[in-house]
Amino acid sequence: MKKILLGMAALAVMLPATMEWALRQSNVVWATEQTTEELPPPDLYKDTPDWYRAVYKDNVGLSEGAGPFSKYFKPQMLDMYWQPNRHYEPMENLDHSIFIEQERRDLCVICHEEATPGIVADWRSSGHKNPKSTPYLSSRTALIEKNVGRVLNEVHCFDCHADTEKKQIRMPTGEVCGGCHRQQFDEFLREREMGRPNHLQSWEANTIVPWYAEAARRGYLYGQHGCDMCHSGAEKCDVCHTRHKFSAVEGRQPEACITCHMGPDHPDAESYGESKHGVIYEKEEEHFDFTKPLVEVRPGKDYRTPTCQFCHMYEKHGRFIHNPVMKGIWRMGTIPPSNLEYTSSLKDYPYGINLIPDKIDIYSEENVAKRSYWLEVCANCHSDRFADTYLKSLDQFMFQAHTLADQAQKIVEDLIADGILYPDAANRDPYPLSDGIVNELNADFLGEPVYNAFKTLKGKFPVVGPILGVYGMFLQQQDNPSHIENEYNRLWFWYKLQGYKGTAHAQQDVSWWWGQAPMMMSMTRIQSEAARLRREAGLEKK
């Protein structure tokens, strides 16, 4: 008996050491014990200059707007949900700080189950509620556990919405998501490398343009829902992975894109949706396996045709990336190519303005490489020659469209040069926010000639063509722009872009009837309007 007791005592003493040894043998390292690599916290504005952070990231509540012209307008209250970093203010009606101070996680759901049952139901069915409900989710969660250094059996309201420093509720931005989903966050951040247009800088695209601030200053902010509800995608992940399910499966479906990617300036939904690719998707939707990460999708088996995500999120050499802009060559179709001889002032585009990108060299080394990555995608189903021929035909379509736009711009510019544009710039409202442009920008941003023009002429001069000439579609002012200028805007900003999307997404009807045909008809209208103006000017002289 004594021996047994002695043995047991010895075992008891040795047990911890034995267990530790056994654990080491089996390579088990608990999540909490794993060492984590120290990363700086996720920052949507990483590597941006101080002035930029100060007007986009620093929270000013609703006291002023965002962007270089932020002092010229106050945001609408809704902007706090769309740009939380800049504008969010916690609710005044009910102070939630007590729940955060006491970390009463249980109470969130008890109240919101009744107050907002939909979002609680969403969360309950999400991977956040049950991050280990499937082997796949478990494996992904294990990676996150390793990175964040804690065990995640549930990701709770509190984890994303509680600002434990300020003891306030916060509206999560991508930076909150990036705390766990770092890879996706960092890949999304790479959009900045590619330049605008992109998602990450979409609020910049909204607010850096003077017509937005001018409209806001004039009290037309509530007409801007059409701009804001898409361009607010800059900071948030729920644009594609809607709250509070935040589903990857949802984000992989073409429908995730279409609320923004539709309409006259980029009819992606229409052109993809009615193309053979889109029609097959619609007919055979139930055969698409969206639970698979894109990299595991077997073309022809999991997807019979490509989705927006499959083509646009393919990076290169079999790799996918968590942003859809990496292979963009024509960049939404607005930027003129450098491969054409222009007759209009487009030959000088972008006129020394540093805020807008240079012309695109379609045959640059970078773009030729990007094209080869596109061909890798197409090669899942199409021969290299067929795909290459098709995409080259897209290039030719774009060259022709830009040539037509150049001719139209020349007509308008000749009218200006001959003093025939009516009403002329001296007798109409100035260019939007000209005073703000002079005060807030400088020659570094606009280049010497353009900045000086604003400074001396105070906006009393015509601005035509991409991209600053598009203001007539976003702001209505007295006689500015005139009819012929607006007609030209429609040609290059609507019809050219519609034709581009129709051709790029292989939708013949959109290519012709929304693109090529209206472009030609618009050109005719511009020609006859120019002829009318010249005739009237001639008659006046007599």
């Binding site: 009606n93 009910l94 007590i98 109470l107 008890i110 109240c111 009744e114 107050a115």
Partner: protein, 260 residues
């Protein structure tokens, strides 16, 4: 094993059980009766009410705070002195302890959370504030709490008797549905005294609004829910019958649905 060994084993176990019992006694929250409820409105009470209650219940207790407009069910309007969860007979005002209990326990299936996040003193301090919203408390005293008869142990027979009452004698199913899901034929027509539609309780959820113990449920049948179409059955049913009914409606709970 020697008897001595056995003794030690049980000795240890009983010591452990005892210390657990002591600990649980210490950890038990102080009951309502043990804390002092102020009789007059205090500054603290006003402040607590303003900060934590008025967003839903309104500055003047009219159930019309800024958050109330999108809420269903609507927050209680205190101006009528009609309180659902009481220990007092139908139509009577609640006792202070009743109000304290509702504040601390909350009302399941509503946005009224258990406000145990506030200290007991804070919770007690709002009671005179709530009462100040209704004249009723100036003119009347709450009746004495109803007597809770000797509880019955639930058996097959008591549940069956309860079922008969539910289905035949009182026809509870007309509002609460045959399976107790709150979906009886008259469910959609129900309105509370404030003119808002009110959903008959769904027993399958298991989240009894006035508390989950059999006594809590028994009390609802005995006192009724003031301000709602749910009457008291103190007269229609004998004490035993109310226990039968309690056992029956508690048998309707669907445990797997409660887990949600």
């Amino acid at each position: 094993m020697k008897p001595k060994g056995l003794f030690y084993k049980f000795g240890f176990l009983s010591a452990a059980v005892f210390s657990c019992a002591v600990m649980s006694v210490n950890m038990r929250p102080t009951t309502a009766s043990a804390i002092e409820i102020p009789t007059e409105v205090t500054e603290e009470g006003k402040n607590v009410y303003k900060k934590y209650c008025s967003p839903c219940h309104g500055e003047e207790g009219g159930g019309d705070g800024p958050l109330s407009r999108s809420m269903i069910p609507k927050p209680r309007d205190f101006t009528r002195g009609a309180y659902k969860f009481r220990s007092t007979p139908s139509g009577s005002l609640p006792t202070d302890e009743d109000i304290f209990r509702t504040i601390s326990y909350g009302v399941p299936n509503s946005t009224m959370i258990p406000w145990d996040i506030l200290t007991e003193e804070q919770r007690a301090s709002v009671i005179p504030v709530l009462k100040s919203f209704s004249e009723a408390f100036e003119y009347r005293e709450p009746d004495a709490p109803v007597e809770v008869g000797l509880p019955l142990r639930p058996t097959e027979r008591t549940i069956l008797e309860g079922k008969k009452i539910y289905e035949e004698k009182l026809e509870c199913w007309k509002c609460h549905g045959v399976e107790g899901r709150g979906d009886g034929p008259s469910a959609a027509e129900q309105e509370d005294d404030f003119g808002f539609p009110i959903k008959p309780f769904d027993f399958t959820t298991g989240k009894f609004k006035g508390g989950n113990s059999p006594t809590d449920v028994y009390l609802r049948f005995t006192t009724g829910l003031n301000g709602t179409p749910m009457p008291s059955f103190a007269k229609e049913l004998s004490d035993e019958e109310r226990w039968y009914l309690t056992h029956y409606v508690m048998s309707l709970v669907q445990p797997e649905e409660c887990e949600e």
